[in-house]
């Protein structure tokens, strides 16, 4: 995984979002990470510590919401959460499966300080 370059993208998006609202201080960055996204949270936190310095997120923190791995069977429409990367329908055994959720890497929302003087 490339947590450092993911963090660079994350901070660029967060800075833009904060700037649009006229805020220069981000308290919380709420992330939705899929169970199968492959992101290493410790590496992401470390990258954040290093790269957030000098940005609007410098004094903020990351929050993580895990999105479960869910697949649906193309044959019988049964939804299930597989234990491994081998996708099989738990009901009918079909190998024809679609991923519904579990690979997300999303910045859901950020929390900024209400008391910011703001840039208007």
């Amino acid at each position: 995984m490339h947590e450092v370059s993911l963090m660079e993208n994350l901070l660029a998006v967060v800075e833009k979002a904060a700037e649009r609202e006229g805020s220069d201080h981000v308290d919380v960055i709420h992330l939705r990470l899929g169970e199968m996204s492959g992101v290493n949270i410790d590496s992401l936190k470390f990258a954040f510590e290093v790269l957030s310095k000098g940005t609007v997120a410098e004094k903020g923190r990351l929050e993580f919401e895990q999105v479960p791995l869910v697949i649906v069977c193309n044959e019988c429409n049964y939804e299930s959460s597989p234990e491994s990367l081998i996708f099989r329908c738990a009901k009918c055994g079909s190998a024809s499966m679609e991923l519904i959720s579990g690979r997300e890497m999303e910045i859901d929302y950020i929390l900024v300080d209400e008391d910011d003087p703001g840039k208007g």
């Binding site: 998006v13 979002a17 990367l85 890497m105 910045i107 859901d108 929302y109």
Partner: protein
């Protein structure tokens, strides 16, 4: 506290550029294949073996990707093909923006079929859309028949798996059925070919696969 909804994917930056690449290639009727494997599995040798069979049918272009050197591009250049070498410095995979820049260095107007040879790596290239029409991966039979489940993402994302260096099967303990079975477990839609660049075994089937893929992908 004031909540600002963002709803942005962290990979959006690469995806946006990949979309641009895809549109540019589609607009010119160019079909592009992203070739991936571990280092030394035979990507460049495969291109060198394949190009003579394709030259008369297609206008070919190649983008090469390596950390350092233009050795691979030089091998392609010797065959008279338009080729550009990306040297990533230290980056372990090609990404859409590198390919975007490389596309400017080729005469796209004169290309029908573009091969993008990725950096040798069974892990990272799978995570980066380049704007290609399909992914072809190589696993040489000297690498071990247990690799599909150890590196699932690349197998899951590929259209075709080429088992290369089959001329060496007698010299290694590679269980072809096991490797195929496990690769298909991960990706039931995966097509699989067996090949040897040295003996030419399987090259015809590979060429037929290319022909079929090219017309299915709307090659002009």
């Amino acid at each position: 506290m004031h909540e600002i909804h963002v709803g942005k994917d962290l990979r959006e930056h690469n995806r946006e550029i990949a979309r641009e690449n895809r549109e540019k290639l589609k607009g010119r009727g160019i079909v592009a294949l992203n070739l991936m494997s571990a280092p030394g599995a035979g990507k460049t040798s495969l291109l060198v073996s394949t190009i003579p069979h394709l030259k008369d049918k297609y206008n070919l272009g190649v983008i090469e990707g390596d950390l350092q050197t233009s050795r691979d591009a030089e091998r392609i250049k010797e065959l008279g093909i338009d080729v550009y070498q990306i040297q990533t410095g230290g980056v372990c995979h090609l990404d859409a923006s590198m390919v975007h820049s490389a596309m400017h260095e080729l005469d796209l107007a004169a290309i029908d079929l573009l091969f993008i040879e990725n950096v040798g790596n069974l892990v990272c290239p799978a995570e980066f859309d380049l704007g290609e029409d399909g992914r072809v991966m190589l696993l040489s039979i000297t690498e071990g028949d247990d690799k599909p489940k150890k590196y699932p993402l690349m197998f899951a994302e590929s259209r075709l798996l080429i088992l290369n260096k089959i001329d060496l099967l007698n010299h290694v303990d590679f269980d072809i059925s096991r490797a195929k079975r496990e690769a298909l477990d991960i990706n039931p839609r995966l097509e699989i070919l067996e090949l040897s660049c040295r003996t030419g075994d399987g090259i015809d089937e590979w060429i037929s696969w290319i022909d079929r893929f090219y017309s299915e992908s709307g090659g002009a």
